[in-house]
């Protein structure tokens, strides 16, 4: 199959996601309101409770709002990843996922295109959030607005493919609500999004390890460092490994020979 065919297909999938995004304005606003509530209310309340020491990539003491901003950016991507996989479960129940899967273009390409389309939408949301967050004096160096981009692509891919894998394993839409609770909240709270890992280690060693091995921590920290135009090798390698694992799992999940789609046929 010629390269141009793949390009047209990719363009079509991204365009469809962008159109859906434009048509569903409430999705855009709710994606923005959620982190802004955390920033405006939660962070304001907790800034006096939680003191944050000087930790890389920061070179000075920072307000709590500045600390949690990368976590909230990752939260936007986490919700977006789960939401687009929720739409995949919905699409599958409604049938529109089938029209994509019966395309002659290889399935792995279709799924990765769909993931990247979701990442593209999440990046638009992140930049809108960063714009509003500047009102809270969350202003990274100018270069940070550019260097954050690769980190957003990888973390978006990781969280999206996790969502896609979950969507392949879920039989019905109703079950997905449960997974949202069991995935989103534990991932978010057991990470470095709201408090630095050393603080957690002071309280509980086992919880520290849970947070340390939580893929979401790798997304948060990759975003944190890239926002200040720095790279942390440990987190970068970690996020790449997690992305690869979730991508393989999600592609296998939608593979007609091995995947869970067949098992769902019996429902």
């Amino acid at each position: 199959m010629e390269l141009i065919v793949y390009i047209r297909c990719f363009k079509g999938i991204v365009l469809r996601e962008a159109l859906r995004f434009i048509h569903q304005k409430e999705r855009f606003f709710s994606a923005l309101v959620r982190p802004l509530v955390w920033l405006g209310i939660f962070a304001a309340g907790f800034r006096s409770v939680l003191g944050v020491a000087i930790i890389p990539p920061y070179e000075t003491y920072i307000p709590y709002e500045v600390y949690i901003a990368p976590g909230l950016i990752a939260m936007i991507q986490l919700f977006n990843g789960m939401q687009s996989s929720l739409s995949m479960v919905y699409d599958r129940e409604m049938g529109s996922m089938k029209t994509m899967l019966v395309s002659p273009i290889p399935r792995w390409f279709l799924l990765i295109s769909k993931l990247l389309a979701g990442v593209f939408v999440s990046i638009l949301q992140v930049y809108a959030f960063l714009l509003i967050a500047s009102l809270w004096d969350i202003i990274p160096p100018i270069s940070g607005y550019f260097t954050i981009l690769p980190a957003l692509v990888v973390s978006g891919l990781m969280l999206g493919s996790l969502g896609m894998f979950l969507s392949s394993a879920i039989k019905q839409l109703e079950n997905f609500a449960g997974v949202m609770n069991f995935v989103i909240f534990p991932m978010f709270f057991a990470s470095s999004a709201l408090y630095p890992l050393w603080k957690i280690e002071e309280t509980s060693e086992w919880l520290y390890y849970v947070c340390f091995y939580n893929p979401f921590t790798y997304a948060v920290e990759s975003i944190r460092f890239s926002l200040y135009s720095q790279i942390n090798i440990e987190y970068t390698i970690g996020i790449l490994i997690f992305t690869l694992i979730f991508l393989i799992l999600s592609i296998l999940g939608y593979d007609p020979a091995r995947g869970t789609l067949q098992k769902k046929g019996s429902k």
């Binding site: 065919v5 469809r16 089938k98 019966v102 273009i105 067949q262 046929g265």
Partner: protein
Amino acid sequence: MTVALEIKNVSHNFGDFTALDDVSLNISPGDFTVLLGLNGAGKTTLYSLITRLYNNNSGTIKIYGFDVRLNSVNALKHIGVVFQQPTLDLDLSVKENLQYHSSLHGIASSEAEQRIDSEIYRIKLNDKIKSKVRSLSGGQRRRVEIARSLLHKPKLLLLDEPTVGLDIGSRQMILKHVKNLCKKDNLAVLWATHLIDEIDKGEKVIVINKGKVIESGNVSKIVKKTRTKNIREAFNKLVGI
């Protein structure tokens, strides 16, 4: 002679449940073939195997000579599908839905524009091209799905219970449209249904029950063989209702 769809000894299980049991059938270009069976007979499973949503555990499925499992790219190129469930994106316009489908088949946008216009004209929905799918009636949505399934110029059209839930007028219009396509474009059509009144006298029928093909042939042959008066009686006798 070219065979549009060739299914040989296909069986499929979901756990302990046998959904299809040693199914074999052939469809030639230009054939309008009705796959007749009650709900749960295995029609949708068969469609899922032909379109490679599931892999067949046993037997072979070939589309114009291309094995669906071994050469899915070429096999799927030739298939147009209308699924039982509605599959259009309700929040997008008719045109946007059709453009999306064209891109999934790698059709260039200028070529897609022409094909969309001509298919929309054929289903007489030119005035609805910019309307959101949500605003269309059930019958109109089905017609759009048929138009969509033809955009990449398939040679085999699979329709799974396409008229369920539609009023008589829409049903007749869709049936007539597909039968015309069959004649004009030499399209092979497999039309799954449980609605017996959709079958005309000279047509080929495959009766499926509990995952098995229990009879196939022209309506007159099946009626004669079952010693009944019409296809309805023949079907009732064959499936034991």
